[in-house]
């Protein structure tokens, strides 16, 4: 691959993956903070208010890093992918300013009110501000997922005489059939991550014997929310999202599932290592017919394998396959872990099962990995297309930017983001060590 194209791709992949670590928690936690604030008022119980304030502290740091690492992405559409922007900006660009106009203004304005408004606004307005933050966070996700969905499945456009795209329907772009389930699956993943964060903190406090009451409350919320969310992550959101891939991007489906040859009664590979050179899976574990059933509702249906497509439209198979399998594998473990947690909660053994609390605390990196892996499968599996079926990735880069420039800025981002990661872990770790009561004073 061309060095310049590779440098643009690596920089975008790195900056977007690092950025996404923060919105995952922001989108999920915004909802839980609004929920805790609501419970405080409904149950007239200050414990919920203390929990809301504790998580708002972490939310603030997380939000700040999400904002500063998010701005580069909007710039990079122009700085690194200028031919893509010039080609389709009038169509995919419809959703970009709306993210600012309908979501970021709401989120930042109400976050200011929520954090600085004590004593300046009534309790009701303060509660509303918390809701505004949650709604803004959740909405921002839709506009950016809709932009991505358009790259996965372009709609609402026509090709102009000069080869660029022209908008034909705003609503087709906004209500892209690919976007709905992709969005719900994304948001569900964010909410599940927040549930895990709450659970991990709760487990830490119960295990260490500090703030045990806050810990117990957190564990209960995390396990109940976690069971629901880990299940809805798979059905219906994950399943329906896969059906969209089956319909619109069958070659991606074949790569994700490691289906190297076309076959009826196609098996679902649980594990195994794809070897494109010999067109087989090494050391596989199959469930016969299940892939045909999941894709077409009929275990005997024929599913197209990678051999059915020309070589120049195949995505990188190994990366697509592994990232997808890591996501699905972790998702399955989340369901098992949360169901076990719910069982222990029902038997009133949750707080005394220290072994379970240890696993819950140490599980916190894995929802992040699952979210990132899911997006990796989505984006790498879209290759070699930048806009599916229309524009290949190398044709979207900026012609005036030299590879040396991109390599330099990539190194710059790597250094800056390493520092940001260190600061984030340090500051959030400090808040967690301080605990819910002390954390409100600084």
């Amino acid at each position: 691959m061309d060095v310049a194209v590779f440098a643009h791709r690596i920089q975008f992949a790195f900056t977007v993956m690092f950025h996404y670590l923060f919105p995952i928690l922001t989108m999920g936690l915004g909802f839980f903070i609004a929920l805790l604030s609501t419970l405080e008022i409904l149950k007239n119980d200050p414990r919920y208010g203390a929990a809301a304030r504790f998580w708002a502290k972490i939310f603030t740091i997380n939000f700040a890093l999400g904002v500063v690492t998010g701005i580069p992405l909007e710039f990079e559409f122009g700085t690194n992918w200028s031919r893509f922007s010039a080609y389709g900006g009038g169509v995919f660009g419809q959703t970009l300013p709306l993210e600012g106009v309908y979501a970021f203004f709401l989120e930042s304005g109400f976050l200011g009110l929520f954090l600085f408004g004590h004593g300046k606004v009534s309790r009701g307005v303060h509660w509303l501000a918390g809701m505004g933050v949650a709604v803004g966070s959740l909405l921002s996700g839709y506009f950016i997922v809709a932009t991505n969905a358009w790259m996965q499945h372009p709609v609402g456009y026509a090709v102009d005489a000069n080869g660029t795209l022209r908008l034909t329907s705003f609503w087709e772009v906004m209500l892209n059939p690919f976007a709905g389930w992709q969005y719900l699956h994304t948001i569900n993943g964010a909410l599940l991550t927040a549930a895990y964060a709450i659970g991990a903190a709760g487990a830490y406090y119960v295990l260490s014997g500090r703030h045990p009451e806050f810990g117990r409350l957190s564990l209960k919320i995390a396990v109940i929310a976690g069971v629901i969310l880990s299940l809805t992550q798979a059905f219906p959101t994950g399943d329906m999202n896969s059906r969209n891939v089956t319909d619109y991007q069958p070659v991606k489906l074949a790569a994700m599932e490691g289906l190297l040859t076309t076959q009826p009664n196609a098996p679902l590979a649980i594990i195994g290592m794809p070897d494109p050179a010999t067109a087989r899976l090494i050391d596989p574990l199959y469930v016969p017919g299940l892939l045909s059933y999941l894709a077409y509702g009929n275990s005997r249906a024929s599913v197209k394998g990678l051999d059915a497509y020309p070589k120049d439209v195949l995505p990188p198979i190994e990366l697509t396959y592994y990232s997808y399998h890591i996501m699905v594998g972790l998702g399955t473990l989340f369901i098992a872990q949360m169901l076990l947690g719910l069982f222990l909660l029902w038997r009133r053994k949750l707080e005394s099962s220290r072994w379970f609390l240890w696993t819950l605390m140490l599980a916190i990196p894995f929802p992040y990995i699952a979210n990132e892996a899911g997006w990796t499968a989505t984006e790498v599996g879209r290759q070699p297309w930048l806009v599916y079926g229309l524009l290949k990735t190398p044709a979207g880069t900026s012609p005036t930017v030299a590879s040396g420039e991109t390599i330099f800025t990539m190194l710059g981002f790597a250094g800056i983001y390493a520092l940001l990661a260190f600061l984030f872990v340090f500051l959030v770790g400090r808040i967690i060590v301080q605990g819910p009561d002390e954390a409100s004073s600084h």
Partner: protein, 339 residues
């Protein structure tokens, strides 16, 4: 007025709103180390912008998104042409945002000094670089037949652009000092007033100088101001703002000082917009290569759809942004909440 012209002025309006709103918090940052000396004063200055700075920055993001959808070729050409300069802006934006949010998280004086410097450097550099970018657009760019250009550092940092950069820096610093005059009391307010008065004369000198030199440097300004006499309203607006600024140097006239800097910024940026209209990136290679509001625009259907979708949303934004600003109006105090 055509849809293309409407979008030109929407972007102009967004840029003015951004410069007025984020302008005061960038300005506070640019003079922060000298105006706010003790830790309490610095926390007061940060709390003065605390609830609003992030929302103010969204105006830049929203304007960027609107540029993508309305004039995608300008966005593509301009952003890739100024690649390294924009990457620097991004890194300063990161430095600044992190410094504001992290500074007061630890009691340690060393930690706070570190992020104080970060907040100052980020604000100072962004206020300067925004003006440098604008100067380059006014001066014209080596846009080729394919609509692209490569703007090296040596090219970007030409004397004219440095002059507009300095004008931007001093104007926003003056605006920030005026904001602190309204929001603070005591020695901090008094120092802000002194700085505001000092900066005022720098702004006045640089504004007059930049205006005269623009008539010499810009390839489009003379013809535009001849063709659209109404354009003179903007320099006059800037003069009006500067005259309010002059009269409000004494204590007790804080509100007029702030109004003065708002009107000055709006006037200067409006005048700049009229300098290039209807070009967005004027080509110094051949005027025919210039990217204008016609040849760089999306389709009429795209412009109309985006207009409707964004205007409806912006009405809501203006309403609740005003509410947030009103809630936090008045003198700021440091307490349990905030920085």
């Amino acid at each position: 007025m055509t849809l293309n012209a409407i979008w030109f002025w929407i972007l102009g309006g967004m840029l003015i709103a951004y410069s007025v709103l984020d302008g005061y918090d960038l300005g506070v940052g640019s003079i922060y180390l000298w105006v706010a000396k003790s830790d309490d004063e610095r926390r007061t200055a940060l709390n003065a912008i605390g609830p609003v700075w992030n929302g103010n920055e969204v105006w830049l993001l929203a304007a960027g998104g609107m540029l993508v959808v309305s004039f995608p070729k300008v966005y593509a050409s301009g952003f890739s042409g100024f690649y390294l300069a924009l990457m620097l802006v991004l890194w300063f934006l990161i430095l600044r945002g992190v410094s504001i949010e992290f500074r007061s998280k630890l009691e340690s004086p060393l930690w706070r000094s570190l992020f104080d410097a970060g907040f100052w450097l980020g604000s100072f550099a962004i206020a300067l670089l925004l003006g440098v970018a604008l100067g380059n657009v006014l001066r014209g760019l080596p846009v080729g037949a394919d609509g692209t250009f490569a703007g090296s550092f040596a090219f970007t940092l030409n004397p004219y652009a440095l002059l507009t950069g300095l004008l931007s820096l001093t104007t926003l610093a003056w605006h920030g000092a005026n904001y602190l005059r309204i929001k603070t009391e005591g020695p901090l307010q008094e120092r802000s007033r002194t700085w505001s008065a000092r900066l005022y004369f720098l702004v006045l000198t640089l504004a007059v100088l930049a205006t005269i030199i623009t008539f010499w440097v810009s390839p489009t300004v003379a013809a535009n101001y001849h063709r659209y006499p109404v354009a003179w309203a903007f320099p006059l607006l800037a003069l009006l703002g500067l005259s309010w600024g002059f009269r409000s140097r004494q204590a007790g006239r804080e509100r007029w000082a702030f109004r003065g800097s708002i009107v000055t910024i709006a006037g200067l940026l409006g005048a700049a917009a009229m300098t290039v209209y209807p070009n967005l990136l004027y080509s110094t290679v051949s005027p025919g290569y210039s990217l204008t509001i016609y040849n760089a625009a999306s389709s009429q259907h795209a412009l109309r759809a985006a207009l409707l979708a964004n205007v409806v949303g912006m009405i809501g934004v203006i309403l609740y942004t005003s509410y947030v600003h009103r809630t936090f109006s008045g003198k700021v105090h440091i307490g349990d909440h905030g920085y």
